[in-house]
Structures are given as C-alpha cells and as structure tokens.
C-alpha cells in the first residue's frame, strides 16, 4: 500500500471513530438533503429543467475555447483585466503580483473553493498580505487553522459550541457574546466590519461567468460577497475555466437549480451579477457608478483542460452545489476531511484524481458503494458512478490497488468462464466452508476477506447449488444440459 493510500485509510478510520463528527453530519446533511427535496417539489418539471441545464453545460464544455474567448473579449470591453493561469502556481503568482503592485497589505475574501484549491491564502501570506476570510464558515475555518469539510457548508463538522469556544480563545469573546448563533454571527460581523473597511483588495470566487456579457455571477447568503466585491479598491475574482455559461438566459436556468440543490432555497439571498469595475459612461455604454476601481479576473486551468474531450470531461459540468455530498451515504459517515482533497464527496472523488492524477488519489474512486444517489440528485445529471468506474479501471490498468485482487479477479474470471470448473470449485469451497462454519454462518473469513467478518457474519454456501439441485430434481426444465 502506498503512503497516500495508507493516509486515506487512516483518516477514514479516524472519522468513523468520531461520534461528534457523526452527530454534526447527521444534523446538517439531513437538513440540506431534505431542503433540496422540498425545493424541487415547488417547480413543475424539475426533470426537464435538469435536462436543459445539462445541455447548457455540455454544450459549453464542448465549445469551451470559443466561450472563453468570447468571455475575455466581453469582460475586457467592460474594463476588466482577464488573466490566464495554466497552473495553481501561476494563479497565485498573478494575484500576489497584483497585490504587490498596489501596495496591498490586507485582503478580504469571500468563499471560494478554487482559491482553496490553489492555496491562495498561503501564497499571499508568504508575500506579506494578510487575508481575512469573510464568509462566516470560512472565517471560522481560518481562525481554527482548519480546512473546509464541505463545498458550501465549510464547518459542517463543527458544532455551535465548538465555534463559541474558538471565538473565546482566539478573539477574546465574552461568554454572553457567543451565547447563541445570532450572538456568534453578530460578533463575527463586528470583527469583520473593520477588516472590510481597511482592506485594499477583495478576493472572490465566481459561481458562473456569462460569456456574451463578460459578467460574473456570485451567489452568497451572508452579504459578505457583496462587501468583498464592492468596498475594496481592487477586486480579484478567481474562477475555474469551466465556470462559463453562454448567455444570461442560460445563467437563469442554472441558478434555479444551483440554489435549490445547494441549500434548498429557490434563490440564494444575494445573487450578484458584476459586469466590470466602476467606470464613466462612454459612447459604448452607460458606465458603472460604483464598485471597485479595478476588476481582475484570474481564470485557472490547473488540470481542467486535460479533461476536455476525454472520458472524464463530464465532471467539468459540475456547478459545485454540494448536493452529491449531502445525499452520499459515504460522505455522511466520514465527512469531508477524510477525502483529503479540497473537494470531498462523490464529486471530489472524481475531481481530485482528475485534476491531480491518480498517484496520490487512487483510493478515492473506490470509496463508493456505487449506489447512484449522487447521479440522481445532480442538477446537471453528471453520471458520477460511471466516472468513478472509469477511474477504477484506470487504477487497475496502472496496477494500483491491492495486489491480491490483481491476482484474484482474473483468476475468478477464468473460472467463471469455465462452467464445469466453476461448479466443481464452488462445491469444493462449499464443503470446506461448511467444515469451518457454525449453524450456517462463518464468523471469520480468511485473508483479505476477513475485513467482511470484522463486523458481520458470512453465510455458509449451500451443499448443492441451485442449478445442480434444479437439474437433479427437474431435468425436464434444463434447457441446456
């Protein structure tokens, strides 16, 4: 087993042994999944809407180069600076350079998974720029020196008391200032307001960018996104290169699904559509009376373009709603941290190996029972089990995974394609296991199969197989004997 595999299995075991985590996940994933079902019940033909959204995403990804060109032209025409970052290092260097050139020492940031992916905070910190997370969940994560464990609910693994204690320890909050969730929120808001007023740069992600208008769409529920993108003089928006929709009408389709799938809302509390920085009216357009002086858009590739045209390209349809996490029974039991990457759950099990290769992430595609709940809930109908199966096949082709299985599976296939041998070995195995069993059950299986019997029993095979019994008792029914 590789070091990466061992690390994954260790973190899974730790997560499973944590009853506190289990309670927190029960509470939140259940609420989010239930909210989704209710929210979809309010639209007449949710299936057709999903089909439309899928077609939009599929079309966009199939013609991504054209849409990105169009987006760059439109955004530039509205006064934005568009930067292309082939790698995470290029992306962070671009943002650091922008901050340095403008003498920025403090940046506020709204919630963004891609900035987690490129580890932007660390890069800015190393360059002497303090970054303050302004999403409440991300603010808590940063304060605790932790990592988000969910795409849209970063502190799903923590309780209210955990946060209250953290604020007392790290921010000197008095007990009455963190007595309940409204008090905690008010305390965070007071703390953050000062940072907003002093920050020289606001950093955001991008939920979706509109190609034909050059607009950025950001959805939040806390209003921090609006402050981040309007108050500081410079706004830097970081986006994965797949987050494009062709038109505002397409945006409308996807947004209806995004909020419902993410939080069970018909629409997020704040839906911001940002089209360029503050600028005077000209003969070309009406201008923009408020907002930042400068708007920089950093488009991050970081492995995404490698997936284009391949069998995993479908994962680029993802709009990062997190619904597949909330519905996934595996995520429900191990939470987000155990997956190891920035993106947990079924989507993460494709994205992490897809963007960063299987060497470090070969276990993730196998961490699924392939139950298909993720495929059913996905607003753009990504066939996640199929993508996981594709990655599994890649791990086998690369001779990754348990050595015993690489011997056992071809052997099993060789036996199962030789029916006489199959029946004879089946009967032999049945006889042997009957000698080891008690009352029709085995409480210990040998070798790697012993993992089954750590927590469940295994039935003893019948002395004669059904096919053998059937043909012995009712030879007339045996069409092929």
């Amino acid at each position: 087993m590789t070091e990466a595999s061992a690390r994954f299995h260790r973190s899974v075991a730790e997560a499973l042994a944590d009853p506190h985590l289990r309670q927190a996940l029960d509470r939140t994933t259940g609420r989010l999944a239930g909210g989704l079902a209710k929210a979809f019940a309010t639209i007449p033909d949710a299936g057709a809407l999903r089909d439309t959204a899928r077609r939009i995403r599929a079309h966009t990804i199939a013609h991504l180069d054209q849409h990105l060109d169009q987006f760059e032209r439109a955004a530039t025409a509205r006064g934005c600076h568009v930067h292309w970052a082939p790698t995470a290092a290029d992306a962070t260097r671009l943002v650091v350079d922008i901050a340095r050139a403008r003498g920025v020492s403090l940046a506020v940031k709204s919630k963004s998974m891609v900035t987690e992916e490129i580890e932007l905070n660390a890069a800015l910190g190393a360059a002497g720029v303090r970054v303050v997370e302004s999403d409440l969940g991300e603010f808590v994560v940063q304060l605790a020196d932790d990592r988000p464990s969910h795409i849209i609910a970063p502190i799903v693994h923590m309780s209210r008391d955990d946060v209250a204690r953290l604020f007392e320890d790290k921010l000197g909050a008095r007990p009455d200032e963190v007595a309940d969730i409204p008090a905690i929120t008010a305390f965070a808001r007071r703390t953050l307001r000062q940072e907003f007023l002093q920050a020289g740069m606001g950093i955001s992600g991008v939920n979706l960018a509109v190609a034909d208008t050059g607009s950025l769409c950001l959805v939040t529920n806390e209003g921090n996104g609006r402050l981040t993108t309007t108050l500081p003089r410079v706004h830097v928006a970081v986006m994965g290169l797949e987050r494009i929709v062709p038109t505002a009408a397409d945006l409308g389709v996807v947004l209806q699904l995004l909020a419902r799938s993410a939080t069970g809302q018909a629409l997020s509390v704040y839906t911001n559509i940002i089209t360029g920085p503050r600028r005077p009216a000209t003969s070309d357009g009406p201008g923009e009376p408020d907002g930042p002086d400068e708007l920089h858009i950093v488009v991050v590739d970081n492995g995404r373009s490698r997936l284009l045209g391949g069998e995993l390209a479908e994962i680029l349809y993802c709009v990062r709603c997190g619904a597949c996490l909330n519905i996934c029974p595996v995520y429900h039991h191990i939470g987000g941290h155990a997956y190891g990457g920035v993106y947990p759950g079924p989507v993460g099990s494709v994205v992490s190996p897809g963007l960063m290769g299987l060497d470090e992430w070969s276990e993730l595609p196998h961490a699924s029972s392939l139950c298909g709940a993720c495929r059913d809930v996905c607003p753009v109908r990504i066939d996640l089990p199929r993508l996981l199966l594709n990655l599994r096949a890649q791990t086998v082709a690369a001779r990754m995974g348990p050595a015993w299985l690489r011997i056992a599976m071809p052997l099993y296939a060789a036996i199962a394609t030789r029916p006489v041998l199959y029946r004879w070995l089946g009967s032999l195995a049945a006889r042997l296991s009957r000698m080891m069993g008690h009352d029709g059950w085995l409480d210990r299986l040998p070798g790697p199969l012993s993992a089954w019997t750590t927590e469940r029993d295994f039935p003893v095979p019948a002395p004669r197989s059904f096919v053998q019994e059937h043909h012995a008792h009712a030879p007339r029914a045996g069409g092929c004997e």
Binding site: V12, A13, L16, P329, V330, H333, I334, P365, H366, S368, S369, L370, C371, G372, A373, R375, D376, L389, R392, A393, T395, V396, A397, G401, L405, M409, P410, A413, A414, I415, A416, T417, P419, Y422, G426, A430, W441, D443, P448, L449, A451, W452, E455, R456, D457, F458, P459, P461, A462, S465, F466, V467, E469, H470, H471, A477, G478, G479, C480, E481
Partner: protein
C-alpha cells in the same frame, strides 16, 4: 411485449451458491404463472464484481460467457436481482459495443432481460392474492434496481398485494446498505457503518423481516443482523410471493 410461454432463469451466482431456496421460489412463482422455466446449466456470474472493481477485461470475458449461455435460446431472461439485471441490461451493451461478434447479441439479450418483479408486474401483470396472516415486512429498495432499472413501484405493488398493511417501507428505504461488492472488503469500515445505520432503521421499523429484490443486500444485512443476534429475517421478495417463507 406479448406474454411469453417460456422463460430462462439467470439465477445469479449468489442465489445459486448461497440461497438456492430463493431460486426455487422464483421457479415456483413463474411456473404458477403457467410458464415453462429453463435454467441454463452453464450460467455462472454476470461479471459485476470485476466490472465494479475496474477489471474491465475480466468483466468483458464474463459478459461474453453469459451472452453465449443466454443466447442459446431466444426466450426472455428473468433475473432475481436488480443489480445483475442492470448489469446485463445497461452494462453489457456498453462493454461489448466494439466487439463485432457480441455487440448485437448483447443488445438483443439486454432487450429481453428483466428483473424478477419487473417481469411479474410489467410483462405478466401479476396481482398476487392477499394473505391474511404473516410476518410484518419492511421493504429495502436495492440501489441498482431502484436507480438503475427504476424499480420503484413493482416490488412494492407485489408486496402490498400479499401483505397489505403488514408491509411498509424501511425508514430511508432507498439508502444503500453499504454492500457495494468489493467495497465491503476494500473499505470495510465505511461499509459496516452504513450497515449499522440500515440495521438501526430495521430495528426502528419493528418488522419481523426485511425484504428486498437482491440477495446481495440481504446477505450483507443478514450478516449484520446475525452478528447482532437479531431475530429479524432477511427475505427475498420471491420467498414472500411463493409462500415459502415459513420453510
């Protein structure tokens, strides 16, 4: 399709080796419908363990074997398992799409393969007689039947006809029990945690038996129930329909 007079039974490797009584129950139910049931002798495993493990070439070999065995006759094929039926119906045509000798036969087989309850309800339009007494049943909706083949109403309709109000859905009936084939061995801890949740739901239901369309789930759930000393029995839907559950 028109009502057939003969069917082939692809019984699945787990029924064949571990639950022959389920196979006999399936035959009894089908014969009661006046069908001539043949059981091809050389059937083995559909190849799902290999396919789900990423061993595509091995899965393909087993798929070819099964196509051969079930193409000796043009009769429809009944499979008492949602996941094995889903494998034949949806995966075989993909796996063998580029195989000149097998692609057409795989598609033909897929078109005449049915999961057991799907065949009873959608093809034979069976409505079984009510039984006044019997155990309280809780239905678990196996994943691949539910989400792969869309088996939502068929098993429930049959169980309700027999057991009426004695049959209810398990709380969270459609949540995976954690079996997932090799998943139960490769990530045994997660699998066992999922099983523990399923067993909590079974206890909460107060049922005497948990019923499903797939013995794979029932083997997993049954192994967990037995380890805990539970008296709740795992039963295949065919055992309920054949009236052999008291055996």
């Amino acid at each position: 399709m028109t009502r057939p007079t003969r069917v082939q039974l692809f019984v699945t490797c787990l029924v064949d080796r571990f639950y022959p009584s389920v196979g006999h129950a399936v035959v009894a139910v089908l014969e009661r419908q006046g069908l001539d049931v043949s059981v091809p002798m050389d059937q083995t495993c559909c190849g799902q363990p290999a396919f789900n493990g990423g061993f595509t070439d091995d899965a393909r070999r087993m798929a070819r074997h099964t196509v051969d065995v079930l193409s000796a006759s043009p009769d429809p094929v009944v499979v008492p398992s949602g996941s094995c039926a889903d494998m034949i119906v949806h995966r075989y045509p993909e796996l063998l799409a580029d195989d000149a000798a097998y692609a057409a036969r795989a598609r033909d087989l897929a078109a005449r393969t049915f999961e057991f309850t799907q065949f009873l309800v959608d093809v034979l339009h069976v409505s079984p007689a009510a039984e006044p007494d019997g155990p309280r049943l809780a239905y678990h909706a196996s994943c691949h039947g539910l989400r792969g083949l869309g088996l939502v109403e068929q098993p429930r309709q049959l169980l309700r006809a027999v057991a009426g109000d004695r049959c209810t859905d398990l709380p969270g009936a459609g949540i995976c029990c954690g079996f997932g084939g090799l998943f139960a061995v490769k990530l045994a801890g997660i699998s066992a945690a999922m099983l523990a949740s399923k067993i909590e739901a079974i206890a909460e239901s107060g049922a005497d038996a948990v019923v499903a369309t797939d013995v794979s789930c029932l083997m997993h759930i049954g192994g967990g129930l037995h380890r805990r000393g539970s008296r709740v029995r795992p039963l295949h839907v065919a055992e309920i329909l054949a009236g052999t559950r008291h055996d």
